[in-house]
Symmetry: C2
Amino acid sequence: MIFHQFFEVESSTYTYLLASEQTREAVLIDPVASEIDIYTQYLEMHNLTLVYSLDTHVHADHVTAANLLRDKFGCKTVLHRNSGVNCGDIFITDQSVIRIGEINIEARYTPGHTNACTSYVAEGMVFTGDALLIDGCGRTDFQEGNAEILYDSIHTQIFTLPDETIVYPGHDYKGRLVSTVGHERLHNSRLGAGKSKAEFVEIMNNLNLPYPKKIDIALPANKACGQ
Amino acid sequence: MIFHQFFEVESSTYTYLLASEQTREAVLIDPVASEIDIYTQYLEMHNLTLVYSLDTHVHADHVTAANLLRDKFGCKTVLHRNSGVNCGDIFITDQSVIRIGEINIEARYTPGHTNACTSYVAEGMVFTGDALLIDGCGRTDFQEGNAEILYDSIHTQIFTLPDETIVYPGHDYKGRLVSTVGHERLHNSRLGAGKSKAEFVEIMNNLNLPYPKKIDIALPANKACGQ
Ligand SMILES: [Fe+2]
Ligand SMILES: [Fe+2]
């Protein structure tokens, strides 16, 4: 398998590329519009064909590259059915699988940050979008956010994965690249060490976060797949 | 929308083509390997690009054209996740949606004939595969068949559609092309007029059908997408 983690500085967004060594088919998870030249260069350098772009959810902090990539490479735009987006090609639901070569990418529906959040599991890794972050989680105070639902999603869909599963989050604001399910289950300061749902909700209700800077631009753009 | 119903005589299989007039993208539902030249001719004649081939289930009576079509047109092979098939590209689950141009094709999981049976709903039509047939239904005596599950699938996933929804089945052995949900709910001789689950199971247990002629060839072939 070919794997690469990209970082977009302005919104601290991680984008992931997975590709099959056999078929040279590639997917991008959470691509950012401004970075399209970097993805293109990487794909060309490694002789890869971009087949799918997957968004873990409708982002409020950056504009997806989905449409740009579809226009450029003819790849399919994949989103959860609940995304309310009308421009996608494939609207997956829980347990749907996208396959490239020998790699199965399984969707796990993990709502709570938004109503369409999906994590993707492949090859011992989980791409958690903004559901589970390293030592944190996505906020639940806008875009259908619901702390109780997020708690359940993380516990039933992510913490049930094997301890050694590598957690690749949608963002990190402190330079951390990667974690594991076992580490987050024990040490995540909002969810770890068996914190109860009530404790989690209490924490989430008292974050007092500022209004997201780019939400008024990013949301409408992402509802149109980035156009 | 462009729509066409094909008929393969040997196994009495119906294949359906749906295409967007805007984007010229097409899908084929339940294509049969022997008919590939007919599909190709139709696609070329109407200037269409085949984007997906969908199988409603792993067929026991004919060999799918999925692999042939993928090799020829580069389309994606779509199946339900439960199909146990390892050669597909996209493994959908209940409520997944495949979109071509202005057309949304919604998957409805309808097990009972097999464990992977999926009906597809689009533009006031439902493609029922071998779940619901005209005045009948798929048999439940092989391939994970289960009459109780089939009864529930048809009642919850197909009979809940509007009366006027057009039913396009996977087969007909008497030359009938089409029915409606309202007609089948009233008149289907196994399920209609409010027949109970017990009555249905009794009927299905006493069909005394012969061993399917082509199952020993078709099943292994279809588990490999027709190769
Ligand atoms: Fe987000
Ligand atoms: Fe069948």
